[in-house]
Symmetry: C2
Subunit: 205 residues, 2 copies
């Protein structure tokens, strides 16, 4: 039924799966080839080396992780809605890609030049985002509590992403299965919004 993928695409997908599960050092080209269902030599035929293949996979994962957040940060929404949207979209995205934050944060230091390059490229998108401007403006008008906009941004993200990074531990301790954990995270969205709104906005709308 599914249309046959090109060999190149099969390798890339297998590489993403194995790298995400085992990390760079723990992954082997042989396992990637096995998952992809192709001969070992083809990984080096299509991509030049394990390093190059990893850089490709990591780069895409890195972009994926920040794309949605940055897009919402710079959207036209008013601040209150924007914070809600940040939480909603981040949760929805991570439900589909639960291992992404762990992968990006733990594997970044390996290919240093690349990693730091990607980060500095993203700097402006965060520091000069419309979100930061909105927060500063609202603070000047006394509508919003006076906290560092970047700290606020991180607080929003931390309340979402941590629940995915800690999932193996939490789901085990609380004995939640996949569906229950999903429900738990979805319900947590509202709590985070309530908490942030109440703390942040000085004048109730």
């Amino acid at each position: 039924m599914t249309t046959e993928l090109s060999t190149e695409e099969k390798i890339k997908r297998a590489a993403r799966q194995v790298f995400m599960e085992k990390g760079y050092a723990g992954a082997t080209t042989r396992e990637i080839a096995e998952v992809a269902g192709i001969n070992i030599a083809l990984t080096n035929y299509y991509f030049r080396s394990k390093d190059k293949l990893f850089d490709l996979v990591y780069g895409e994962a890195f972009q994926d992780l920040f794309r949605i957040i940055i897009s919402v940060l710079n959207s036209e929404l008013p601040l209150r809605d924007k914070i809600g949207q940040l939480i909603d979209e981040d949760v929805d995205f991570l439900l589909k890609n639960p291992d992404l934050p762990k992968f990006v944060m733990t594997q970044g230091y390996l290919n240093n030049e690349n990693f730091f390059g990607m980060l500095t490229a993203k700097r402006d998108a965060f520091l000069n985002s419309k979100f930061v401007v909105q927060v500063v403006q609202a603070q000047a008008q006394g509508q919003v509590r006076n906290i560092n906009p970047i700290e606020l941004m991180l607080t929003i993200v931390s309340n979402v992403q941590f629940f995915f990074m800690a999932k193996p531990i939490v789901s085990r301790i609380t004995q939640m299965d996949e569906a229950q954990y999903r429900h738990f995270v979805l319900q947590h969205k509202q709590m985070v919004k309530d908490m942030l709104y109440q703390y942040l906005f000085l004048q109730p709308e």
Copy 2:
């Protein structure tokens, strides 16, 4: 000046350093031996294998990460002070051990039996902690907002630990050096407390 450590202790410390930096797969016994300044064969003379050495290091890291939190959870403090203490002590501890959460959370699945065993052993300490009892009681008396005590616990921890796990990314984007980041995290403590108190406690004291 420093008293000479035993060979066994030198290996264990070197192993902790290398395992934390590179992970299990990325670490080699030769690098551990080099860091410890001893012959390769000694790692297997004192510990039986790389696996056994890793299990030892991981087990201690695991205990370290939860010891303080569990101790505060079950202390005699009133709820409000307890939440403050959780945040204070977690930050202080992580300032001394910044790589611990990342290590415990990402390397746990490797030695599965051990990991899950340690988790189930900790289950009661969390689920039946004095903290949970206090929250439920305060909720019954209408003093505290009606949220899942475990979710509250996780929210507290997430607002602290995430700032350490994301440190490589955040410090690079914001161009903060070590001292600045330390100041940033210390200041963040108060913000987390304010936010949680305001959200959680229905009657101002």
